[in-house]
Symmetry: C2
Subunit: 208 residues, 2 copies
């Protein structure tokens, strides 16, 4: 089983690493990081490069393809969109985290499908014909989309359970000691202080 | 403010990325990834390299130093231990995730201090004179240790709040949409099925 995780300039590291850490241990799986060119790819905080081991042309039939997000994913990059359409044609699961769903949608892969994204960009899914959902992890057929950044961990464990069973996924959860205890309860726009939501989204929060 | 995150062969990516994603946005902060040599450093799943931008010799006075863990951290690597002692002498915060605390302890920095680690290695802290704690995030003076892998996210948000205030940390939590919804409740040895805990730790679970 091959898992391909796409990298591109300005992507968010945790979007890629959450699924890597949770799906990488699947029995018999090999994970490959792939980008337009091989070599280091700089993240959106401009301080960390992840290395793409393979170019797009070298990865043609992954079983699972995973697209991380970033603050401004290039939904007009035809080389990447073409590759997404190609690998999706043979994939078992086509997956995104955060704004990665905008790239899947821009490639035409989420037409009429339910999908999620980072909360600040959820509405943009409709531009590309997808149906936005506020759930943290959305399954629609073989398409699996996760909400912003850290949601890739919950998505990865959920998908690992579907593929390899609950016991395997629980073992992964125990190995990464994923027993979350956030010091605040501000991780979604429905829970964070309204002033913060407005500051980050640039829009008023209805009814709050 | 400089944040230095140590990389070494066979370290666990999420251990480094959790703090990076949560502490990197601190106001005025610059994050640098550092290793014995600059260049790509391969992770414990052997599929992803993170790039160290600086060598140990180039990073001498970080304000925050962060040590990720891995399945077998080299607690006898004198070059790294020497560097840890050097940077700790001037750091504001000295931090670890997962088994990274064993390296801090091996460097002699946790003598008589409360600390945590990955649940499978917690007892080993006593070999180096530290006092193991089962808490997920442990503060003892300027020393901050997190439990296994994903605990680095909770640690990073907690420390971000201490440094820059609750509102800043909540904004970070909202940006990374950290509203955890794990599909299982198996993320700690006290919650996971006893059979799994025994399988992973290689030891029977008392009283279960």
């Amino acid at each position: 089983m091959q898992i391909a995780i796409l990298l591109y300039d300005n992507c968010t590291v945790l979007d890629a690493v959450g699924p890597y850490q949770t799906l990488g241990p699947l029995p018999g799986a090999e994970t490959v990081f792939v980008a337009e060119q091989t070599g280091p790819v700089l993240d959106d905080n401009r301080s960390l490069s992840l290395v793409a081991a393979k170019s797009l042309a070298e990865v043609t039939r992954p079983d699972i393809v995973i697209v991380p997000g970033g603050p401004d994913p290039d939904v007009r990059n035809e080389a990447v969109l073409d590759w997404l359409r190609t690998v999706d044609a043979a994939s078992t699961w086509t997956v995104s985290v955060c704004t990665g769903s905008l790239m899947l949608a821009a490639a035409g892969l989420l037409d009429g499908r339910r999908a999620t994204s980072h909360w600040t960009t959820l509405d943009r899914l409709t531009e590309f014909g997808a149906e936005p959902s506020r759930e943290r992890v959305v399954f629609d057929g073989k398409y699996v989309t996760a909400a912003g950044v850290s949601a890739g961990i919950d998505m990865g464990l959920t998908l690992a359970g579907r593929i390899a069973g609950d016991e395997h996924a629980q073992a992964v959860q125990l190995m990464i000691e994923y027993d979350p205890q956030p010091p605040y309860d501000a991780g979604s726009p429905s829970k964070a202080p309204a002033a913060l939501v407005e500051l980050i989204s640039g829009a008023p929060v209805p009814g709050r």
